[in-house]
Amino acid sequence: MIARLVGLLSLLALPALADVPVQVVTSKGGITAWLVEEPAIPFIALEIRFRGGATLDPEGKEGAVNLMAGLLEEGTGDLDSQGFAAARDRLAASFRFGASREGVSVSARFLSENREAAVDLLRRALVEPAFAPADLERVRGQVLSGLRRDAQDPEALAALAFDRAAFGDHTYARPTDGTLESVVALTVEDIRAAHQAALARDRVYVAAVGDISAADLGPMLDTLLGALPETGAPLAGPATVGLTGQVVVEPFPGPQSILLFGHEGIRRSDPDFFAAFVVSEILGGGRFGTRLMTEVREKRGLTYGIGAGLSELDQATLVAGQVQTGNATVRQTIEVIRAEWARIADISAAELEAVKTYLTGAYPLRWDGNANIARALVGLLMDGYPPDYPTKRNGYIEAVTLEDARRVAARVFDPERLSFVVVGSPEGLDAE
């Protein structure tokens, strides 16, 4: 049970791929997908993303896209909720629908032998969802139950508090799942509007991995997605990151406090991005041996785990991290993190070499499993990378010089702006 920190704040997980042969497939209907053929196991993993997600919720209707995504598996046409689940299970298919801050995701797995029927069922769910009133009430009840749980969960509270501190009145500061008040008020019309706004062809990204050829994938894309509206709702406008060095404390009972920390980051398109990424890995990559893990956990025993890294939203960037520590040691933990931020540019040649070896060595290892590969590819596609990025990516890491790393560390990591959001009952800590 010494699992490392992963997936904090959806930290940028740079996809890693060495020689995965990506084919770009464009359907007759104009839908583009990335494909990796892998016939070893007779199934197909399909990952679909629609850009926009919860940012498309109108003011006062927070949670509409999330609730809509939750209703996609609750029936279509003459199939009610139970009928749809039975049909899906009979085909031995698996469909998952989810909404996040900036996207709606569809993850599907189906056996080669059931491909046509499974794709047809998935199409009906995406294009002609029933949104029956009884199902709306039932799924609304589940969402509200989750919100009541989150209202007492320090991790969920910390994430919301961090977003508020970082994004002020931008839509990014709003809760993806909505609030108890907004979700109660959502109507079937709101859900239909969210469906029209979020699931459109102008914002769809598809990756397929498994037992399917390029010739078969094109027509499959048109069948599956061709009947969706061509355009959806406008995406969110620019955001500014309001993390300027503040310490925000939200009182919560319990023996430990949770700390989220960070400030503005750097764009992937910035020429210094890879240098910044390498530096962030030295500082806080989710594994042992990083500076934060060594100083906070290994040397001082202040926490079970700590990590930090770069992340990018459509309209903002972050360097952000997370740690949990006893209430009595929050102050000390903050001091140690600040000290690491302050000495970030003090990087040795050996340290840089070690992290480059790690990053370039780990790169090809992350590409096993159809579902894994499909998820990674759709992420790359959505982030605007070219299909040959995987073969070039290690070269970008290798090209980072010691001079680059030191310069970019000083440019991107700023102890003056480093801000902390603390949820808990920290001792001896006054909000600054």
Partner: protein, 441 residues
């Protein structure tokens, strides 16, 4: 790589089983080896599983197996503290470990051509662990923080620990894997080393390797690195204190101001898969799927979420592995305005109706088809497949049992499901827990 004759000391010929991707053999010192070939990516997963876990600790030292797992990263005669993970990272690999009641496991995931490097280091720390007093003390603070994060900060974590303790009257499965706080605080270097010497040895270990490597290659490497470690010879059977007959239902109520959503959960003491006798456990897997594992078509979901709308969520789960026992659990989360007493009563009515009506044939056929497909999907995760073998083998099962399991599941009959339900769903062998914010919910 060719086998060098001098290294072939295995007592049994290599057995290639029905699943032709899986091979097993045993080294001369008793270390069991399982190899799962998967050539899709140039990656290998290397795992060593010890047949020792939290249920093998002596009373008063709960958390020791897990504490030792942490300390295994603190250096050997030739590796500095933390150097193990650093060397794996430097090669682009990842490593970690985990502890349960029945096992402690260490694993690395790395490029297939670096297998020997991680194997050499894992063999080294099987026998050469050295611990500095200061590292032990700091790591104990880390484990206390881990306990705070995982358990004490989360009412559901505390509630789960209390229920587990109540489910077992005598068996050490009632103790938390991470340990009770006051006992973790008292763990020390000497105790950890004593536990290490008693249980860490090739004759108490299973090597599981999955990925881009052949059984022959693994055999040669394993003979070189693990085969040279002498057997402990002191490994004894795992005789844990046995449960007496459970003749009284237990009920728990836990109130915690941090609870946002109350729920009721009932756990029944249940049998686990036994070597060569997996039918009853397979019937329980099917029972869990029928009652609460198949979404809106589950028995509980239909009754409580659709027909009566008295619950917002229901589920049933059963872990089929466990060296001595397992448990079968039912959960219901009440709809707003519904009390835990009401939702529990509805749960019992739904159960009674199921016991009277029996298995719905359509549901049963659909679940079987779905499980068959799950076997195909499961092959997608090399790590997942390796883990299956490790868990099964440290729970007293054989490679043959693992390979047979999907068919055992397919062969379950509705009669066997009902028979298992009648045996296991016995309130006298159960703990029913209510987690709530305050009285009255």
């Amino acid at each position: 790589m060719r086998l060098i004759l001098g290294f072939v000391m295995a007592l049994w010929p290599m057995v290639t089983l029905a699943d032709d991707r899986v091979s097993q053999f045993t080294l001369g010192n008793g270390m069991q080896v399982v190899v799962i070939e998967d050539r899709r990516a140039p990656v290998v997963v290397h795992m060593v599983w010890y047949r020792v876990g939290a249920a093998d600790e002596a009373p008063g030292e709960s958390g020791l197996a897990h504490f030792l797992e942490h300390l295994m990263f603190k250096g050997t005669k030739t590796l500095a503290p933390g150097e193990f993970s650093q060397r794996v990272s430097a090669q682009g690999g990842s490593d970690n470990a985990f502890t349960s009641w029945d096992y402690t496991a260490y694993f690395q995931r790395i490029a297939a051509d670096r297998l020997e490097m991680v194997m050499a280091m894992e063999a080294d720390r099987m026998v050469n662990l050295t611990l500095a007093q200061r590292d032990v003390e700091t790591e104990r603070d880390v484990v206390l923080e881990e306990r705070t994060t995982r358990v004490d900060s989360d009412p559901a974590g505390l509630f789960s620990e209390q229920r587990q303790a109540a489910l077992y009257l005598n068996h050490p499965y009632g103790r938390p894997i991470i340990g009770w706080r006051h006992e973790i605080a008292a763990l020390d270097r000497e105790g950890a080393l004593r536990f290490y010497r008693a249980h860490y040895a090739p004759d108490n270990a299973i090597l599981v390797i999955a990925g881009d490597v052949s059984a022959d290659e693994v055999r040669a490497l394993a003979e070189t690195h693990y085969g040279v470690i002498p057997a402990s010879g002191r490994i004894t059977g795992r005789e844990r204190p046995a449960e007496p007959p459970q003749i009284a239902e237990r009920r728990l109520i836990m109130d915690d101001p941090r609870v946002g959503q109350p729920y009721v959960i009932r756990s029944y003491l249940a049998p686990s898969r036994q070597a060569g006798a997996q039918q009853q456990a397979a019937a329980l897997v099917m029972l869990a799927q029928l009652l609460g594992g198949s979404g809106p078509n589950s028995v509980l979901s239909r009754a409580l979420e659709f027909d009566r709308q008295i619950a917002v969520q229901t589920s049933a789960f059963y872990d089929s592995t466990g060296y001595d026992h397992s448990s079968f659990a039912l959960v219901a989360v009440p709809a707003p305005g519904v009390t835990l007493a009401e939702v529990e009563a509805a749960l019992d009515e739904a159960l009674a109706a199921f016991m009277a009506a029996g298995v719905n044939a359509d549901d049963f056929a659909r679940i079987k088809a779905q499980m068959k497909a799950q076997e195909i999907y499961a092959l997608d995760s090399t790590m997942g497949v390796a883990r299956r073998y490790g868990v099964a083998l440290t729970s007293g099962l054989t490679v043959g049992d693992v390979i047979a399991w999907p068919q055992v599941l397919q062969d379950v009959t509705p009669e066997q499901v009902m028979e298992a339900a009648r045996t296991v769903l016995d309130r006298r062998q159960s703990v029913t827990g209510w987690l709530r914010k305050e009285a009255g919910q």
